[in-house]
Symmetry: C2
Subunit: 323 residues, 2 copies
């Protein structure tokens, strides 16, 4: 079982075929950065068209069993997730509606302060707001997973504490390896795993030691070291692959509609666009390289299988339905 | 000139006639508590119908001169304001659009944490967010006044500091008189007046010493004491009159769509609805009682005129247009 815990590609038949070449059985795809409810529904409509057009390549995923059925039938199950809480607007009733529509992950915030919690780019972090606490409870009730990949430290710790179910950090790396702005502290990683939460290791160059020049060896050693620290059962891949996206999309991700100024996020004026991928992870076809790299660190076949997909599968089984 | 710096009545011909009986030349009316952009536009449409239906009683107000023209023609100018930033959603471009539509005040937050700042009901207060700082700058540019009536202490102080133009607290009272949750500290009142901002004294019973049993004398003494503390030029009336509203409306104000639980706000389970008004301020017809009450404290006629409307008029002149 091979599962990628986060991608935001400019999806197309070409990419769906690459996903199949890479034997990726399930992918959690982002269907919102800053969109409101109606705009997010339009993104779901586009996925519905793709499911209709490419039934031999992809299918909609809503439970762990969907991932299994996809594998058995040689297809890839697509799970929906939100990188922001903007689609629920100010309406707690939309949590259940979004779940009914198939959404399985929701970040409480994307870099900035939201109605629910604080993002990693704010100078101050209040933790969960009044509304945030109520929304986490509602997400727990229906089975919409809290994702804190882009959230600030205190908010992340409070989400772990306040949530009665495990949460996910679908795409980030440990700060001990690379001090990226939104990579995660040891304290967060330990609290996450102790609550049966999941960390998906990111392959987005700004999260990698050495950026685009990061080596496969360094990446896999980091995974092995994280496993030593927090256990083998709470880690997976969340590649954050943004394949074939024009640079206008990274601008949308960073600035949305909230600013009249440009904000380079984890980039800079000189490297404003999407950074190039490491040569050992160009796209979905290369996911097998990580499997090979993990084995080269001395990790057992069983443990490699957990990292490559079985941990995510267990997490899907346990967290995508009502409590 | 008699100006009320905030009302949220269930407006009707009856109330428009009472406003005229009370010789109220201008009223700042709330057109949003939790509404998004489109819903707020629908509220403006309702006002357009009223302007069309009652041209002898009311007119739309957008500048200080509108207030003067209304007075000269025996009508009342209605100025629009938002008690929440929800109508601008996550879109800084909507600041100018809302101003073009006639909106002249916007609260950065209504009790809870917003995308811009922290409300008075949150346990923690981060001050202005990244987006908040940019939005205040944009509001300064177009002439949309920052209103911090429902905001938390630090956020209010930061709004005053960050704004290059005076801000308003359209409806609240000093904490030194009544320690209501969102009444304002001496520090806030001083910073407000030193930056030429305006405080509108509220007649909403939860903001009054003694609640519905507050006396006119106590209210007017409080105004005189505030004038001694921060000067006579930065205070006015912001009655927060919510006449003829069903209790379902106070529930909407408090809970919006953000909670599945009931929240009693400044009320309690036993007094969940709108509290009764003091008998000396039932509605717009009684605004003259405050004028009489202020004179009884020994305040000069000129100073009373400032409090009753001239201060707001000057503020309108200076702050409703581009910088």
């Amino acid at each position: 079982m091979r599962i990628d815990g986060l991608q935001y590609c400019n999806f197309s038949e070409k990419i769906f075929r690459q996903i199949r070449i890479g034997n990726v059985d399930s992918v959690h795809v982002t269907v919102c950065y800053h969109e409101n409810f109606r705009e997010t529904v339009a993104n779901l409509e586009r996925w519905n068209r793709w499911f209709e057009q490419y039934p031999d390549l992809i299918m909609k995923g809503t439970t762990g069993d969907c991932a299994r059925r996809a594998k058995e039938t040689g297809r890839t199950a697509i799970f929906f997730g939100l990188q922001n809480c903007s689609p629920m607007e100010d309406d707690i009733g939309l949590v259940e509606i979004l779940h009914t529509l198939g959404v399985r992950f929701m970040q409480l915030t994307y870099n900035n302060q939201s109605l629910l919690a604080t993002g990693a780019y704010e100078a101050e972090d209040t933790g969960l707001t009044r509304m945030g606490k109520q929304v986490v409870r509602e997400m727990n009730r229906v089975g919409l997973v809290v994702d804190m990949s882009h959230s600030a430290e205190r908010s992340t710790l409070e989400a772990i504490e306040h949530s009665t179910r495990p949460i996910a950090i679908t795409h980030a790396n440990p700060k001990f390896w690379h001090p990226g702005l939104r990579n995660k502290s040891d304290e967060v990683l330990k609290a996450l795993s102790q609550s049966s939460g999941m960390l998906g290791f990111s392959l987005y160059p700004h999260h990698l030691k050495g950026g685009s020049n990061c080596t496969l060896e360094s990446f896999c050693e980091m995974i092995a070291r994280t496993a030593d620290m927090i256990g083998i059962d709470h880690i997976g891949i969340g590649s954050d692959l943004c394949q074939d996206q024009p640079d206008s999309v990274v601008e949308w991700m960073r600035v949305g509609r909230w600013s009249k100024e440009i904000d380079y996020g984890e980039g800079s004026k000189d490297i404003a666009g999407f950074p190039p991928q490491p040569d050992w992870f160009r796209d979905n076809r290369d996911l097998g390289n990580i499997e090979t790299g993990l084995k080269a660190t001395g990790m057992s076949d069983q443990d490699v299988s957990k990292v490559m997909g079985l941990n995510w599968l267990r997490f899907f089984d346990e967290n995508f339905g009502p409590q």
